[in-house]
């Protein structure tokens, strides 16, 4: 039992709360008549899976903390499985924004679902080793084949898709609020995906703690992208000023 586990567990619960809150708030805003309905659904589903994964991570650490190793293992499986599945909605979200083609986005999403399901099967077939007692987190080591599948089947394609979207936004003149929302949500997705790799590879020590803190930052940025706090709105001037048409006399020529 390590005192650092509690801190790490709280960070995981923090990530889960922020992500699930983002999912719930986005889900409440959904309108079936909106043509962006499916992109909104997949984006909120991504955050739901991500939040659920970190909720399970927090629970598995808590069970390990109280010595219930069997329950801990079950929640580790649940956590890892949801991580494997979250690329599928993300692929639809990004490809639909990039290409605007529903069929390509759905097919790609199905491909990532198959890869995710294969990963879950591999996880169940090959099992895990551990838990190893790290200062911050009890670490379960997955099979190398599963790590390979995650990196090349899910991680690299996801990062490529996220990076592909950035130039469209960065190189264009658009209202500050639009740039803020899009850039921040892409940065948050990028942060989340970048540092999940440390979790997947089962790296421990301070690097694991810092990377999880950065994932928390990513989740917070994701939330702030769609629901910016008043302070941010005021300081960055995100509010669109509405000017009324002047109806008096024109200037004398």
């Amino acid at each position: 039992m390590q005192p650092g586990w509690m801190l790490y567990g709280f960070i995981c619960f923090g990530i889960a709360i922020v992500s699930l809150l983002l999912f719930i708030k986005m889900f409440e805003m959904l309108e079936k008549t909106d043509f962006r309905y499916l992109t909104s659904v997949t984006f909120s589903l991504f955050w739901a899976l991500f939040g659920a994964s970190y909720l399970c991570t927090g629970i598995y650490i808590a069970f390990e903390y109280i010595g219930a190793s069997d329950m801990s293992l079950i929640f580790f499986y649940a956590s890892f499985s949801t991580l494997l599945m979250m690329t599928a909605p993300l692929a639809y979200f990004i490809l639909h924004i990039l290409l605007g083609d529903n069929r390509i986005s759905i097919v790609t999403s199905i491909v990532f679902t198959i890869i995710g399901l294969s990963g879950i099967m591999l996880l169940l077939l090959l099992g895990v080793e551990g838990p190893y007692q790290d200062i911050w987190v009890p670490i379960f080591q997955t099979h190398d084949l599963l790590k390979f599948l995650f990196i090349f089947g899910l991680y690299v394609p996801s990062l490529c898709m996220i990076m592909a979207l950035l130039p469209f936004i960065a190189l264009r003149r658009s209202p500050r609020s639009t740039k803020y929302k899009i850039t921040l949500s892409l940065v948050s997705l990028s942060l989340v995906y970048d540092f999940i790799l440390i979790d997947i590879l089962g790296i421990g020590g301070t690097l694991r703690l810092v990377s999880t803190l950065l994932i928390l930052l990513g989740a917070l940025l994701g939330y702030a992208a769609f629901f910016p706090p008043d302070v941010v709105v005021r300081s960055l001037g995100l509010e669109l000023s509405e000017f009324k048409e002047y109806e008096g006399e024109d200037e004398e020529i």
């Binding site: 962006r36 992109t39 639909h96 924004i97 990039l98 605007g100 936004i169 929302k181 769609f226």
Partner: protein
């Protein structure tokens, strides 16, 4: 390279909506120069060939007037016979600008659609 009149109309409408009614925002100007540049600098273009594309968007007289008062007066094309025109180097520059304006519109359109799809 074939000329898509519907596409050219869409592009001209876009530039006209930006307050550019002449040049790249004028469908007649666009079509005339595109037809002339299609035949190249050494080859003449028949007026009927131009009208194949412009008949949908403007009357014969309107096109003839545009040929006389804009295209020829600015030295974008020369009249080399009855109803025969040849594009000049300056005219090729103008048609190049028309191509660039189409590319710019396509990129703006794609980006605007992309942003619209973001929840």
């Amino acid at each position: 390279m074939s000329i898509d009149v519907d596409w050219e109309l869409e592009v001209a409408d876009f530039y006209r909506s930006l307050g550019i009614p002449q040049g790249i925002g004028d469908i007649q100007y666009r079509l005339i120069l595109l037809v002339l540049s299609q035949n190249g600098i050494g080859n003449s273009t028949n007026f009927s060939e131009i009208r194949k594309y412009t008949d949908r968007v403007a009357e014969r007289g309107s096109i003839a007037s545009k040929m006389k008062n804009v295209i020829r007066i600015e030295g974008l094309a020369k009249k080399v016979g009855r109803g025969e025109y040849v594009i000049t180097e300056k005219g090729l520059l103008a048609s190049d600008f028309i191509d660039k304006s189409s590319k710019h519109y396509r990129s703006v359109k794609n980006t605007l659609e992309l942003i619209e799809r973001i929840p």
